[in-house]
């Protein structure tokens, strides 16, 4: 079913069951956010993507990432109320992640350049804003290695029970999706250190460069069904091997 409504006066159409933020972005309307990623379900953690939704007599401030679009609503993305509350939530996040460029940039776009709150000593992940993108992505990938630990002001991101996890394959997607890049991943030529664990790399059979962690390859083989030799050569060596093969066919 199609629903029709307006965003900042613009008439838009969307499918029932779509989320407001996705629809807005599709129509070129930017709503800032930190915890949204198209690959995973929205949870409304950062409370930055606020909008004002008017429906009949009712006006509510709400997050757009997890708001299911409704027919006939009137959405405003930049009202005084929206700006006020967004600025406050960004001020809270700035106190939590004072060194994050992304947070600082968004905050200053909302007029927040300093925070009135004390700096938060947040261990073990300084600058983590608890958006849970890492946890959601890890779940979506099927690894289920990461989780949130504790609740309220004690909430942390980590491995279950803070113990080494067999589920982590060392793919580092958690870092890839992390808006503040606060997750530590350290690669040596043969190993990757992540979440307090070390993972051996498969080394390129030609040049010895790292390709992918062994556990990640094993997971991919069992889940995706590609043959093992797909993962045994590095990008560059595969490229030159392919060039040579094609050259021999053409000439």
């Amino acid at each position: 079913m199609t629903v029709q409504f307006t965003i900042d006066g613009l008439e838009v159409k969307a499918k029932e069951g779509e989320h407001l933020l996705d629809v807005a972005r599709r129509h070129g309307i930017d709503i800032p956010s930190l915890c949204h990623h198209e690959a995973v379900e929205p949870i409304g953690a950062c409370r930055v993507c606020l909008v004002e939704v008017r429906s009949g007599q009712k006006t509510t401030i709400t997050t757009s990432c997890n708001f299911l679009v409704e027919d006939g609503i009137e959405v405003h993305t930049d009202t005084a109320e929206v700006r006020k509350h967004r600025a406050m939530n960004l001020e809270l996040l700035l106190a939590r992640a004072p060194k994050s460029d992304v947070v600082r940039k968004l905050a200053s776009a909302s007029g927040v350049t300093r925070t009135r709150f004390e700096p938060l000593a947040y261990e073990p992940l300084p600058n983590c804003i608890l958006c849970e993108l890492c946890v959601r992505t890890c779940d979506m990938l099927g690894h289920h290695a990461l989780t949130t630990v504790g609740r309220g002001d004690k909430k942390r991101i980590g491995l279950p029970f803070n113990k080494p996890s067999d589920n982590c394959v060392g793919c580092a997607s958690c870092l890839s999706v992390c808006p503040t890049q606060c997750i530590s991943v350290k690669d040596t030529p043969t190993q990757r250190a992540i979440w307090g664990q070390k993972h051996d790399f498969i080394l390129c059979k030609v040049c010895g460069a790292p390709v992918i962690t062994k556990k990640h390859r094993d997971f991919a083989i069992s889940e995706k069904g590609l043959p093992e030799d797909y993962y045994d050569t590095c990008e560059k060596c595969k490229q030159s091997a392919a060039s040579k093969r094609f050259a021999s066919v053409v000439w």
Partner: protein, 616 residues
């Protein structure tokens, strides 16, 4: 218990048992609710049992260990039928006298009856005691009349009459009956129960669930606990009626693990209902299948929020999810699920049994029926009170509650649990119903009611509740997780004399964002204690900020303990009891408190018999 194969068989058994147990038969009800048990009521029960047996009176007198009677402060309670005599604070050694004097000779033992602490009047009968007199007990009254482990006891007081009536109606008619009664959810939000049922029943599905939310997490509240412990069959009957009306075949009771007695009693009740053919396949031969399982919760406050409750039942972390979709459309495992609170379920059988007109005649225009409150704090009569909707706060606090103890004056009452607002004396005439309380900046919540007197610091109170909620926040939303943490820090600044007037502005600003932008009700209502105290007790905040003074003498950083020259007679008790040896002074000479060593614990003030310790 025999298994009933048809409604007729059950009806016949009910009739037989009601006739065999006339209403005026002699019975002794010893309260075995959690409060009275803690006072030792089980030993009272044991002695009664032995004494009645040895004296042969057990043929004449029926002895029952019942659920909570509500007047917990005065436990152990012993109630006698049909006379209505209530003995309070009964000790095992009192039993012999009760048997001899009251049971045999019919005399009242005055010292065991209730004396009003304010008027000094004595009361023999339960119904005359002001605590009970102001109440209108529909749900709670049954607690005192039955042994919660006995299905027959429940049948005696009319149990399963509502279900039998429901079975004669079409499901839609049952929903209609609940709708017309005006019953609104007792869990806090006050959504019309019948409408919720209608939505759930109207959603196409192969499987539907009914859930009883017994995850009572408010500090100091125990209404639901008392109903589950005292009358578990009423919840089962309510859920049966709901399941029949909505076409659900599975029921779940989400019950706190910290309520072991409730878990045990409900488990027993489910077993006996199954044995009697009231749960399981083809109930009473009507083709209706329904069974209930208990799901024990781990004690997270947020799991009382329905979407978090669903996540918890499904085995996930208890984190609320955005609604819509509402559980009535997509709940447990994506199926239509109707979640009602314990009190709501326990009320449903009464509505079906006595009719919607009877129920809607009680209460106000917008809020029908009665509501149980857990009346605690600085009030003479603490315990559970069930009152008609629309009764004023004053009637509850000063009527049933008997006013403020120790001659102190009333300061505020917080309704609705940790996230309710604190209302001042000027709001005491507020009628207690769903809508008015919200208008005044508080809420009904699940029925917590904490009374505070002049010795309570309202900033400290706000800080306490914010501290509780920041700990219980699931941590999903920035506004709630970080906002409450920051709010707690700011309130600590006020309490410890570090705050400026800008701090108060920031508190208000931050509270506004937490309220406006958090996902679930835990977050949006969490700031009620702060905003309501800022509104009604702003002068106290200002005193903390500007004068660095705590008017109630509570906030440690802003008070000092000194000894009054005039009143101190040098008895040395304060010096002996001071844990820090901060008090010095010779016998019969003025004592002095070393301010460097004093930790402001207040023990000296508590032990001084001469009012010589001054807090300023």
């Amino acid at each position: 218990m025999q298994a009933f194969k048809t409604p007729k068989q059950l009806q016949a058994h009910r009739k037989k048992i009601i006739e065999s147990r006339p209403a005026d038969r002699k019975a002794i009800a010893v309260c075995a609710g959690t409060g009275c048990k803690a006072f030792g009521s089980l030993s009272v029960y044991d002695v009664f049992q032995k004494t009645l047996k040895s004296s042969g009176l057990d043929k004449k007198w029926e002895l029952r260990a019942t659920g909570c009677h509500g007047f917990c402060e005065r436990g152990p309670l012993v109630l006698m039928f049909p006379s209505g005599t209530l003995y309070q604070k009964v000790k095992p050694e009192d039993v012999d006298e009760i048997v001899e004097q009251t049971l045999v000779k019919g005399k009242t033992i005055k010292r065991l009856t209730y004396q009003d602490p304010v008027t000094s009047k004595w009361f023999r009968r339960e119904q005359d005691i002001p605590f009970y007199k102001h109440q209108h007990r529909l749900v709670l009254k049954q607690n005192g009349m039955i042994d919660p482990t006995s299905l027959d006891d429940y049948l005696t007081i009319g149990g399963y009459g509502g279900f039998l009536k429901a079975l004669k109606m079409r499901p839609a008619k049952v929903i209609d009956e609940v709708k017309k009664s005006g019953l609104r959810g007792r869990g806090g939000a006050g959504f019309p129960t019948g409408t919720k049922w209608e939505i759930c029943a109207g959603t196409k599905a192969t499987q539907r669930y009914v859930v009883c939310n017994a995850d009572e997490g408010d500090p100091g509240a125990f209404m639901d606990r008392s109903v589950v412990e005292g009358n578990p069959q009423s919840i089962i009957e309510g859920m049966l009626i709901g399941a029949y009306a909505m076409g659900a075949s599975k029921g779940i009771v989400y019950l706190r693990q910290e309520y072991p007695l409730a878990v045990q009693r409900l488990g027993l009740a489910l077993e006996s209902a199954r044995e009697a053919g009231l749960l399981g396949k083809n109930i009473l031969g009507t083709g209706f299948d329904f069974d209930i399982q208990i799901n024990k919760g781990g004690g997270a406050f947020v799991c009382g929020e329905e979407s978090a409750l669903i996540a918890s039942v499904e085995g996930r972390r208890g984190v609320p999810k955005r609604r819509p979709p509402y559980p009535a459309i997509s709940g447990l495992w994506g199926k239509p699920t109707n979640i009602n609170n314990v009190e709501t379920w326990a009320t449903v059988p009464l509505i079906l049994d006595r009719g919607h007109k009877w129920f809607s005649s009680i209460g106000t225009e917008g809020s029908k029926g009665t509501k149980i409150f857990s009346l605690v704090g600085k009030v003479n009569n603490t315990g559970l009170v069930e009152v008609p909707m629309g009764m004023t706060l004053k009637e509850i606090v000063f009527g049933a509650g008997g006013g403020i103890p120790d001659g102190k004056s009333f300061k505020a009452v917080q309704t609705g649990g940790p996230s309710g607002g604190c209302l001042p004396e000027s709001k005491l005439d507020t009628p207690v119903d769903f809508d008015t309380l919200v208008q005044e900046g508080s809420m009904m919540g699940s029925g917590g009611m904490i009374v505070m007197d002049e010795s309570t610091c309202m900033v400290d109170v706000a800080k306490y509740f914010v501290g509780f909620l920041k700990f219980e926040s699931c941590g999903n939303c920035t506004s709630c997780r970080d906002g409450l943490q920051r709010l707690y820090e700011l309130l600590s600044d006020v309490c410890e004399g570090r705050a400026s007037m800008e701090t108060l502005d920031l508190i208000e600003e931050l509270a506004g964002t937490i309220r406006a932008t958090s996902l679930c009700a835990l977050g949006t209502t969490s700031v009620n204690p702060v905003l309501s105290t800022l509104k009604y007790f702003r002068d106290e905040y200002v005193a903390h900020v500007k004068e660095k003074r705590c008017p109630a003498g509570v906030c440690k950083s802003l008070i000092t303990y000194t000894i009054d020259e005039k009143n101190c007679n040098g008895c040395t008790i304060c010096a002996k009891k001071c844990p820090e040896q901060a008090i010095s002074g010779k016998k019969k000479k003025l004592h002095i408190i070393d301010q460097q060593r004093c930790i402001k614990c207040g023990i000296c003030k508590d032990v001084c018999k001469y009012d010589a310790v001054i807090v300023a």
